[in-house]
């Protein structure tokens, strides 16, 4: 009998692990993170089924992943208050916690909740902020991410990026040798790896997903026809449209900040060059014209210039060109390989792939000072993408020859790995901010 119970328990564990698909491990911690306590949120539903997620735990995990906070484990808490009158600041001062978050989840309507939370300054013994947020079972994790965003912004002065998503490509191989079949998927998940959804499935390569600035559409490259072509798909409905079908390469789509244009790579004239496509009019304008490989365009946040990879100097380097065209200016000079550039949201940094001693790693370059910082330590790191608040960079790496996702704080201090259960994961792209409502 106990044996049966054991088996059932094990099954449950396995099923839970499967449900979350992407798991996150922090592989390099940080000193100087702010000590905070996020008390597990109380459930006010009496006998009713409690919510499927502990809001407090989701908030604490978000704050920890940012590297800016060090949440106190719940089992080290002397008390677990959920209402203001239950808080005794002396308990928290004794634990050297600087900030305290408490909250409760109250049933509301048939499938709804009201989530209340309060943020306190422990040493002053004062409430800093407090919100009451209506939500549903389906939106509970999203509400928790919004709470983490509010706390992050209140305490750091910078907007949080927890209530965002990532898009990425997975590939799963089956069979072997000549019979090997590959299933490639374009997926999206919450920024913490939960709730993955497949939005495109193909047996031919899918590449280069790119979020529209409003986060509602994704452009990508698909090889489903005889030649690669660029598609734009609505995330919510799955409705999609083929936007290019030129001879040769159709690749590397990049949205302009106003969402009206796609910069992309076409080789219809003989070799890869950057073009700008007006999405509404479907008109195409050449931006670069060079015998070299010009590819991987990315817009500056002000929409005035485009950076791209070119091997016009003999090896791949990053160049910048005005959106109106003209001469391209080389930006990277350290090392023999710098590729796939993109801007930080504030336009101050570039991130790209660089080669050091034969290893491909993620680097940033300060555009004012030219200072280069290498942020990753893998052999085959690629596809860096900034979080919309600029605090982190997500990228693809290899662990024991398996493609996994990793993230690093932009200052290089915190590293984490997002692990997928099966198949290879690659080409992560962080979504822009998603629309949110807040009720104080």
């Amino acid at each position: 009998m106990t044996r049966l119970i054991h088996i059932a328990f094990l099954m449950l564990l396995v099923l839970q692990a499967r449900a979350s698909t992407l798991t996150i491990e922090i592989t390099q911690g940080v000193e100087g993170a702010l000590p905070i306590a996020v008390v597990p949120f109380a459930w006010r539903g009496d006998g009713a089924t409690p919510p499927p997620h502990d809001v407090g735990a989701v908030v604490a995990a978000d704050l920890q992943r940012s590297g800016r906070f060090k949440p106190l484990p719940p089992d080290e808490m002397l008390m677990q208050p959920s209402r203001g009158e239950e808080v005794d600041f002396r308990d928290w001062r004794a634990l050297n916690v600087e900030n305290l978050v408490i909250g409760e989840v109250i049933p509301s309507g048939s499938r709804g909740y009201l989530v209340k939370f309060f943020l306190y300054d422990v040493f002053r013994g004062e409430q800093i902020t407090g919100y009451s947020m209506p939500t549903t079972v389906a939106d509970l994790r999203s509400t928790a991410h919004h709470i983490a965003d509010i706390i992050y912004e209140t305490l750091t002065g910078e907007p949080g990026a927890f209530a965002t998503r990532i898009a990425y490509i997975t590939s799963i191989r089956s069979g072997s040798g000549k019979e090997t079949k590959e299933t490639v998927k374009l997926r999206i998940a919450d920024a913490d790896g939960y709730a993955p959804q497949t939005i495109v499935t193909s047996e031919e390569p899918l590449m280069s997903p790119a979020w529209s600035p409003d986060g509602k559409r994704i452009a990508y490259v698909s090889f489903e026809k005889a030649q690669p072509s660029i598609w734009v798909q609505e995330v919510l409905t799955g409705t999609r449209e083929q936007v290019t079908a030129f001879k040769g390469i159709n690749g590397a789509p990049a949205w302009s900040p106003d969402g009206r244009f796609l910069a992309l790579t076409l080789s219809k004239d003989g070799n890869p060059d950057i073009f700008v496509l007006n999405l509404a009019r479907r008109t195409l304008r050449p931006l670069t014209r060079h015998w070299a490989i010009d590819t991987e365009p990315a817009w500056s946040p002000d929409g005035k210039s485009i950076v791209f990879t070119s091997d016009r100097g003999g090896a791949p380097q990053v160049y910048q060109v005005s959106v109106s065209g003209g001469e391209a200016r080389r930006l990277t000079f350290e090392g023999g390989y710098n590729a796939r550039p993109s801007f930080s949201p504030d336009g101050r940094l570039l991130t790209f792939v660089t080669r050091i001693d034969g290893q491909y790693r993620i680097a940033t370059q300060d555009l004012q000072t030219g200072n280069v910082q290498v942020l990753s330590d893998g052999r085959l790191d690629e596809s860096p993408s900034f979080a919309p608040n600029g605090s982190m960079i997500i990228y693809a790496t290899r662990v024991e020859s398996k493609g996994v996702l990793a993230a690093v704080s932009t200052d290089g201090r915190v590293q984490q790995r997002l692990r997928l259960q099966e198949g290879d994961v690659r080409e992560p792209v962080w979504s822009p901010y998603q629309k949110q409502e807040r009720n104080r």
């Binding site: 499935t201 390569p205 489903e224 390469i249 796939r340």
Partner: protein, 176 residues
């Protein structure tokens, strides 16, 4: 005690396997549903058989003793120069194409996995074009030769070492 623990570990592993199988089943279902969604929206994902190889063309292409039997040529790192060892092979293919004007092929260009993906698409195209130019210089009609770059998306060998990379830096001649 230790043995008992091991037994539990083994059982746990077995359960993981079982769970793995069943969840593969549901994954398939999920994939199919999503494909339907794509299909209603954009006409479906069609597969091209470009990688399937030449099966119905003349026997000369399938004769293991013929130079034409070689349909994959390899390149050096970050290079699109055709190595001397492949000149005779490509000349044989050129002769075949010239004497069989009804035949044609797609040259697939590939790169190893190192570096960025879209740049590797460019590199793969360069390799395919190098082969195409060689064939055309030998008198083959441009209309007989198409190119398609897969970059690093379609490796021949799944490995992360120099040997695997060398096998993946290639152009493949696919007759249709």
């Amino acid at each position: 005690m230790k043995a008992k623990r091991l037994a539990w570990l083994a059982l746990a592993a077995a359960v993981v396997l079982v769970a793995g199988c069943s969840s593969t089943g549901t994954k398939d279902g999920e994939g199919a549903a999503v494909e339907d969604r794509g299909a209603s929206a954009g006409g479906g994902v069609t597969t091209s058989g470009a990688g399937a190889g030449a099966t119905w063309t003349g026997s000369a292409l399938e004769d293991p003793n013929s130079l034409l039997y070689t349909k994959v040529i390899y390149f050096d790192f970050d290079q699109d120069t055709i190595r001397g060892e492949y000149i005779d092979v490509l000349r044989a293919h050129a002769t075949y194409l010239v004497t069989n004007p009804g035949s044609g092929l797609t040259i697939e260009g590939h790169a190893d996995e190192r570096g960025s993906r879209e740049y590797n698409i460019g590199l793969g195209e360069r390799r395919a074009n190098a082969v195409k130019r060689f064939l055309e210089a030998e008198g083959v009609s441009p209309s007989q030769v198409g190119t398609l770059s897969y970059g690093e998306e379609r490796p021949a060998v799944y490995g992360n070492d120099e040997l695997s990379w060398a096998e993946n830096r290639r152009a493949v001649l696919v007759y249709y």
